[in-house]
Symmetry: C2
Subunit: 337 residues, 2 copies
Amino acid sequence: MTARDDRSSQKSSPPAGEDRLIARFFKPLATAPGAFGLDDDAACLQPPAGHDLVFTTDALVEGVHFLADDPPGNLARKAMRVNLSDLAAKGAHASGFLLSLALPARTDDAWLEAFAAGLKRDIDQFGCALLGGDTVRSPGPLMINVAMFGAVPEGRMVRRAGARPGDKVMLSGSIGDAALGLKVRQGGLAQLPAAVRDHLSSRYELPLPRTELADAVREQASAAMDVSDGLVGDVAKLCRASGVSAQIAAAKVPLSDAARSALGADPALRDAILTGGDDYEILCAVPAANAGRLTAAAHPFGISFTEIGTFGTGEGLRVLDGAGKDLIFTRGSFSHF
Amino acid sequence: MTARDDRSSQKSSPPAGEDRLIARFFKPLATAPGAFGLDDDAACLQPPAGHDLVFTTDALVEGVHFLADDPPGNLARKAMRVNLSDLAAKGAHASGFLLSLALPARTDDAWLEAFAAGLKRDIDQFGCALLGGDTVRSPGPLMINVAMFGAVPEGRMVRRAGARPGDKVMLSGSIGDAALGLKVRQGGLAQLPAAVRDHLSSRYELPLPRTELADAVREQASAAMDVSDGLVGDVAKLCRASGVSAQIAAAKVPLSDAARSALGADPALRDAILTGGDDYEILCAVPAANAGRLTAAAHPFGISFTEIGTFGTGEGLRVLDGAGKDLIFTRGSFSHF
């Protein structure tokens, strides 16, 4: 401690590393009033009247959920989208999020610039505000945590528990592209045309959360969750949470043209498609009388809803092949753990 | 993919690692209604009428914010407390939090049990509910992220920006124990009595968030923040955010008996005390007319509030020694980055 004449040294000294990063890359994104330009210790938000708040969080870790050379903009968007997907499946609309970054020393400004650009793109696209966060140094892998919250009309969050015997098992979009896309990224499926490989790979790199379906799911479904850990395992989870059984037909599971062509070339890929994970589609239990309304409500957004089976009494999940025989999977559910 | 007769294989298979951990260690802690026993993809909470919600998040990384052999229960509590401290300084009462854990493979059940026990202790002590989280594997260091939210009467969050010239610089509790405690933990200050060393060390290991002061700060302060990155740097930050200057007297900065005895033995420790960080006291700008009320409101909780200086016009922070000479610090602010 030494005495000097420069009275304003605390002010004029260059900002610390974290302050500089925040000021340069993240402050410009935090334009919501309650974010205070990331200049405060906390964010503030007035909850919409007559609504509950819905909270979720997901962590992505380098070497577990992504690779060091993944495009940073995609990582930013993926970190937001896995949370957006959770909220949509609960019938909620995303309001804002907190971002925690643990950055290895190798993280340079170019990486951060691309990361922030990806973040901004999805903040704008999904109307979900960056409200705050924490930036720390990691002596190991890069880690990204997003804690997101959204609003749902009071008492109307769609639960996992809620499926009733007789409800239809319904699924948005298509299943399996991401699992096949991971194989492509790992050098597999080399026999497929480049366009097919690119499509699959892109579905792995960047989930497409079904945020447009939140209202329809809330109005028509008795239970819902997003499919992130593989269809078979996630249907089983919904069954357990609801105290019901389910029977689904593998042949009814909706596939993209790309997945269909991959499966045609190698039928053994069915396992990866049905259990592979990272689909980020919405799985619903829907009373039979509502099934048509759900499909109709999704149609204007260009998203299909497909019935793949029925919930029943008792417990357990049966997945049947085209001949009505039970299929059993060596790995029911994908876990990043 | 093979067909077997065991129809309920999805159900009867042992839960995956993450599911088992959550069921065993964290589900018992998630007793709040909107946490759904961690069985859903999201938590749901009805915001209190007439209140805004205040959000904050902090990440703790092994090797940066803590050491691998730190007691796990203390880490859990520290992860909560650094956020509780932020909310208290904003005049908000904590409602709940989301916990993300990235766990190295070496993490065993004994570690998790102790971590969960610490978490439960502070959940109960501070009435702050575990609402959800994410548990992932880390190929590197252990990381703990807490995203916490609380409630504050509408429009009443205490900002960093808000200090006015003439306001008093006021400080709860005492400063420097944690910075000195870190030195103790690193093997320093060996000349001090064991009781003093233990006191200092405990203040480093486990912050004491001033949650009892939230109402008083909200009612009496024009600006506030918690002191986490060192007093000098944090006063300078509050000045910048508020567009004011400040002058504080080093001799007025409140010290514990332990810090005072350490400083007596080695006057050079003043630097560490004033800039060291991890204090988790509340720094306020308080109109002169309110200073007595703030002190009186804190008194029933056994917490002192001390005036250490005055905010003024212009910019910059002056820290004066007993002779009225400016003190300049080689490191104005501690950064974990």
